[in-house]
Structures are given as C-alpha cells and as structure tokens.
C-alpha cells in the first residue's frame, strides 16, 4: 500500500458525505421533523462540501481523470490558496461541519461519513499530501511558417567551376545549376 494517496479516497468519501447530508437534510426539512432546522443546516453544509470536494486534486504520479466540468470549481477553490491546499485545515473543517448534523437522526449518517472523511484527510495531511489543481495544458499551436523569417538572400550553392566546365557533366550541371540553360527541345521565344 506504499503508493496510496489517501487524499483521493478522502475526497470520494467527503463527496459522498456531502450528498448524504443533503439527502438527510431534505428528508428532515420536508417532513418537518422535530428540530428540522438542523436539517436545513445539513442541506447548506452538504452543498458547500460538494462544491469544495468536486474538483479532484492532481495525483502525484501518473495522470488524473478530471471530473466532468470541474475546471470551473477548480478556479474557485484555487483562489483560497493555503486554506484549500492544506489537508489539515480540510480535516478540521469537515470535523466542525459534521457536528451540528449529528443532532438529528436523519442526518447523523452524514456526520459519521464526514467524520471518517475527516480522519482520512488527517492521515493524508500527516503523510504530507497536498491539493494541487489540475491545470489545463496550454495548447501548443504549431506556428505554421514560424521558422521562415525571410526569403533566402543568396542563390543556391553551385558546384565548383571545374565540374561545370566538363562537357559530359556540363549538360547536367548546366541544366541543374544556375548556369546557361541548355534546352533539350529548341524553344522559341514567342514574344516578338
């Protein structure tokens, strides 16, 4: 289990807890249970936790699968800098958030799950893990013709003079190089 990144599991667990808090909260509020205001709190806390935990952090090794559409929340979560990067803070935050939901039976499941998530985050923090945002790689558009600065100033190199002067090679050299053009078929200039 050496390579495990606990924060990844803590993230899944916290996200699940958020959803459970929301569900329990809706049940308690809609049913107007005794002390239903804890249910209302639970919904708010659940939504907050879901938003915070939705953007997945980057794995230390290998590629990370982003959650669908997470880049918007990544931008927001990134703004808080060390508050969201540090997992000790997240562990404490989740622990505190879970307490009020523990007063109501409908939401106590959310509390239990969130406490577990908090414990796993604590473990992750002790092992030195951090939340790193997944950045979009800037698209490298290949510059078409970027290396072409200006047209060449010199004519193409010609073979040395001796080669050019030889009769057998002279024709080829003459035709290939920039020497006087020897046409295989006689050409008449039509311009009068």
């Amino acid at each position: 289990m050496g390579q495990i990144e606990w924060a990844m599991w803590a993230n899944e667990q916290a996200l699940a807890s958020g959803l459970i808090l929301i569900t329990g909260g809706i049940v308690a509020t809609a049913g107007r249970f005794v002390q239903w205001y804890f249910g209302a709190y639970s919904i708010a806390a659940g939504v907050f936790i879901c938003l915070l935990e939705y953007p997945r952090g980057k794995r230390r090794k290998g590629s990370t699968m982003e959650r669908c559409g997470q880049k918007y929340m990544t931008a927001v979560v990134k703004l808080f800098g060390p508050l969201t990067r540090n997992y000790y803070i997240r562990a404490v935050l989740h622990l505190l958030l879970s307490v009020p939901a523990g007063f109501l039976l409908a939401t106590i499941l959310g509390t239990v799950c969130l406490v577990i998530a908090s414990a796993i985050y604590l473990l992750a923090a002790i092992r030195g893990e951090q939340w790193t945002p997944i950045e979009q790689k800037p698209k490298e558009r290949p510059q078409v013709g970027g290396t072409i600065k200006q047209p060449p100033t010199n004519p193409p190199p010609r073979p040395p003079a001796e080669v050019r002067k030889k009769p057998s090679e002279g024709e080829e050299a003459g035709a290939a190089a920039g020497g006087p053009q020897i046409n295989p078929i006689p050409v008449t200039d039509e311009v009068v």
Partner: protein
C-alpha cells in the same frame, strides 16, 4: 407478515419482477446456447453445458455492480422510509390528544403480558436518536450503511484503477455487512397484530371505539402485537453459501503445487512466467488468479494466459502496473533461489473463446491488452502445424495499438514465427496484422521515412510496416466489409472504454441491414 406485505407491496413487487427478470434472462440465454441452431457448431466444438454455463457467470462483474447499485438505491429508500416511521412513532407517543395513534402508543404499560407493544418509542421523553442507537435494528442499520458507503467510495473506478489494494481490502468489509444484515431484523420492531388478538379486537369492528377498549361497555379488548422474525437471511443465504464454496475451492486449488519452468525478463518491464500444474487445462484467452504469499498473503490478481492450449506449460506476461506487480517482478529479477512460491486459481473463461466461431475475425489489442490474442495466435499456429481442418476461421485481421516500441519486443518473436509459418504453408493471406505506434515523435518518424524502401520494418523487423498514430477505424471497417461482403465478422477488443465505444459504433455503422450480407458483432473483454 400480512401487514408487512401490505405496507411494502411495491417493494416486493419490484424485487420479484427484478429477480424474475434475472432468472428468466439466465434460463433464456442458457437454453439459447443449448438448443438454438446458430450455436450448433459452437456446441460441436465446445460441447454442451460445460462451457455454456460459464458465459453468463463471467459477466459477474457487471451483475455485481448492478446488484450494488440496486442495494444502494433500496438502502436509501429503506432509510428514508424508516426515518419517517420513527418520526411518526415519536409524534404519536408525544401526542396528548387521545387519538387512536396515541392510545396505541401507550399500549404496553397497562399490559402485564410483556411484549405486546406497538410503538417502539415507549415514553414521551425517549428521542428517536436514543431508540435508533439502542435497538438492534438501529445499531446494525447505521453500521452497515456506513460500511456500505465506505465500500462504494473505495470502489469508484478512479480509486479502483489507481489504488487497487485500498479497494480490495476495504471491500472485504462486506463480511461485517452480511453478518449485520442478517441480524438487522432480530429486534422485531415492525409489529403486527397477533392472530389471537384479532379475534378479540378486529380493526374493522373495534377501531372506532378505541376509547372503550378493555372496559365493560365494549367487547373489544386491548390489541396485542408481536414482532415478525427477521427475514433478510432468506435473501442472503444462497449467495453466502456460493461464496463460501468458491473460497474453499480457491483454497483447495491454491494448495496444489505450481512448478515454474521458465522465467523471462522482457524489455519494458514485462515478466514472462512459464509454469506447470497437475491437472491444469486451459482454452484460448482464459485467465487465472495468481497469489504470491511472499508479497501479499491475501491478494489474488488476474492475469490472462498467453500460452496456447497445445503447449505443455501455461504462461503469463506480467507488466509493472502497481505495487503488487512491481514487487512481483522485482522478486523474480533478483533471482533468489529458491524462487518465490506461487499459487494459481483458475482458469476462468472469457469471450476470446468465440474467436474461432467467426469466419472473419477482427482482433484489436491495446498495449498489454494484446495478451489474450497472443494466446489465440499461438493456438492458430499450432492448429496449422497439425493441419486442423475444424478451424472455421478464414481470415484474421489483427490490430495492435501500442505507445512505445519496447513493448513490442516480446511479441515480435511470435509474429516473426507466424510470418514465416504462413509463408511456408503458402497461406500468406490468412493473418493480416497491423501494428500502430501511438507514442511516436519526429525522430522515429524520420527514421521510418529514411528506411522506407527497406523490406522489413526498422522497429520490429517484421515484413509488415509499423503504422504511426491511431488506426482510422472507418477506413479499416469499410475495407473489411468490402473484402467480405457476405460474412459474419467478429470484432474482439481488449482495451480501453473509449476504444470500445468507437469500435461498437463502427460495428453498427458497417453492418449491413440485410442479414445475409456482412454483419459485424462486437465482443469486449472485461477486466
């Protein structure tokens, strides 16, 4: 029981329909394989029943996930329903309005016959929370739901693929789940009126006159209730028995000696192990579970067999893809003597067995996903050597998509031999393979362009040139469809989900509407 049924009829109906559907599907598929004409030749080769039973069971992963989702949904419904129940019990206990509900709630106090209460909340001061955590049902309920959530979060695809051990060990919490599920109904909180009490106080006659129960004025006595016994064990007994049986079988099989006959280290950190075990027999494309006690006592990992059934050993190719596999490869690299002990369970069947049933087969393997096809190609080689005329396949198109050249090396030898074999037998057209290198750079491409005129490929030494980039499936499929206008083509993939999607789409697109013309059938390996 009657009352429970009346209260939960919808749940029961849905469960019955779902179970019935599953049973029906199983029997239907089973009978199709046993009886239908199109499987006549399949049965010729495979034999009746022994293999047909395996195929539906091999879709176990999909079924398992389906069951898990259903459990989660029903757990949610169950919890919400009971939350409302408890709330109503609590309210009626606290209600002072002398209504029927409050009278029913105070029932146990005057009665000396102990357990005839209806409302589990016995006094107005008892909170719902207290009852939840002091009753067996409540306690086990919270425990197993927590366990279920832990199991589900650690089984998310992301966690499962990247941190397998976490998933494996957490998933074994199911033992707690099953035990507590069996105990969950023990407290008998859901109460029904006893038969005896129904004769003294039938709700139809007596419910209106509840203020006068037990007095001289009315014939109605106070009703008595009893809890009905736990029923969840009926659902879980059969699966538990099957599971225990399977673990015992695995334990028995693991005690059989496995002899390692050859260890080969291939480039790109791929380890080949050739082994022998008494009584072991396999088919193409099957897989085994391997356990190495010196690395981890409890972990069993699946590996596809890369040897052909015709060989006198069985082999696996292991690539470093996580903690266990890396330790495994390192253990063999270090060449300690004696070699680490290996335990093997299997083989288990997969879809590759069907390859020989199609006239034309399109095999696609991505990276290490080529392993089941290694087995198939080897088997074809042996069948040709023995001039096996029962081979139905006329043509095979093999696509291997890989990121780096190093991974080609161990498979090269096989393809080389096959090339020569085909030439000798004069059947050059039988095996048509294309290798695709997706992780190329301009350096490699430059080399390839430079050596364009050479007869063999510079990367692999094979006659067939390596292609760069990903295959254009539309072109490939239309070429196959044009070349075989009247055949049934089986498409087999061992690779990532995205590739499965594009192949499935192509299969639909290029299958002709006329059932006599070319038809593409898509089969996917599932690991």
């Amino acid at each position: 029981m009657g009352n429970w049924l009346v209260n939960h009829w919808l749940l029961v109906l849905i469960l019955v329909v779902w179970l019935g559907l599953n049973v029906f599907l199983f029997i239907y598929t089973f009978l199709t394989y046993e009886m239908s004409d199109k499987y006549y030749y399949t049965r010729e080769i495979l034999g009746f029943c022994s293999h047909t039973l395996r195929k539906p069971l091999d879709h176990n992963l999909t079924f398992h996930k389906l069951v898990a989702y259903m459990i989660c949904i029903f757990t949610a419904i169950h919890i919400i329903a009971h939350l409302f129940n408890f709330e109503h019990y609590s309210r009626s206990q606290q209600a002072m309005d002398g209504s029927l509900a409050s009278v029913l709630s105070t029932l146990s106090h005057p009665e000396k016959a102990g357990n005839s209460w209806l409302n589990p909340i016995q006094s107005p001061n008892t909170t719902v929370m207290y009852v939840a955590f002091t009753s067996i049902a409540g306690l086990t309920g919270v425990l197993i739901t927590t366990v279920l959530i832990l199991m589900v979060t650690s089984a998310m695809e992301f966690i499962r693929r990247n941190y397998f051990e976490l998933f494996w060990y957490t998933h074994h919490l199911f033992i707690i789940y099953i035990i507590c599920l069996g105990l969950h109904g023990l407290g008998g909180i859901v109460r029904a009126q006893t038969e005896e009490s129904m004769s003294e106080n039938h709700p139809h006659n007596c419910s209106e006159s509840y203020q006068k129960w037990g007095t001289h004025e009315s014939k109605c006595k106070h009703p008595h209730f009893e809890g009905h016994p736990p029923a969840s064990w009926k659902w879980i007994l059969a699966p538990i028995a099957l599971y225990i049986f399977e673990r015992i079988l695995r334990f028995y099989r693991s005690k059989q000696k496995v002899v390692i006959t050859k260890v080969v280290m291939h480039p790109s950190k791929v380890l080949e192990l050739q082994m022998r075990k008494r009584g072991f027999s396999m088919e193409v494309g099957q897989y085994i579970f391997v356990n190495c006690p010196s690395i981890s006592l409890l972990e069993w990992h699946p590996f596809t067999l890369t040897s052909a059934p015709e060989e006198d050993f069985f082999s696996i190719h292991v690539r470093a893809a996580g903690d266990w596999t890396e330790n495994f490869i390192r253990a063999f690299e270090q060449q300690h003597s004696p070699m680490p002990r290996i335990e093997v369970d299997g083989p288990f069947g997969t879809v590759s067995e069907d390859v020989f049933q199609y006239e034309v087969a399109v095999l696609v393997g991505a990276g290490i996903g080529v392993t089941p096809f290694a087995s198939i190609l080897k088997s074809i080689w042996y069948k040709f050597q023995r001039a096996d005329h029962k081979l139905k396949t006329q043509k095979i198109y093999f696509y291997w998509i890989c990121r780096e050249t190093g991974a080609f090396a161990w498979f090269n030898h096989l393809l080389n031999s096959l090339e020569q074999e085909m030439e000798e037998l004069g059947k050059v057209g039988f095996l048509n393979y294309r290798l695709f290198l997706t992780g190329w750079d301009s350096n490699i491409a430059g080399h390839a362009a430079f050596n364009f005129d050479k007869a063999t490929d510079i990367l692999t030494g094979l006659k067939q040139k390596t292609f760069f980039g990903r295959p254009m499936w539309d072109n490939e499929f239309s070429a196959v469809a044009t070349a075989h206008p009247k055949s049934v083509v089986g498409v087999f993939l061992c690779g990532p989900q995205t590739l499965a999607k594009s192949l499935r789409k192509c299969c639909h697109r290029y299958s002709s509407l006329d059932p006599r013309k070319v038809q593409f059938y898509f089969n996917k390996e599932n690991f």
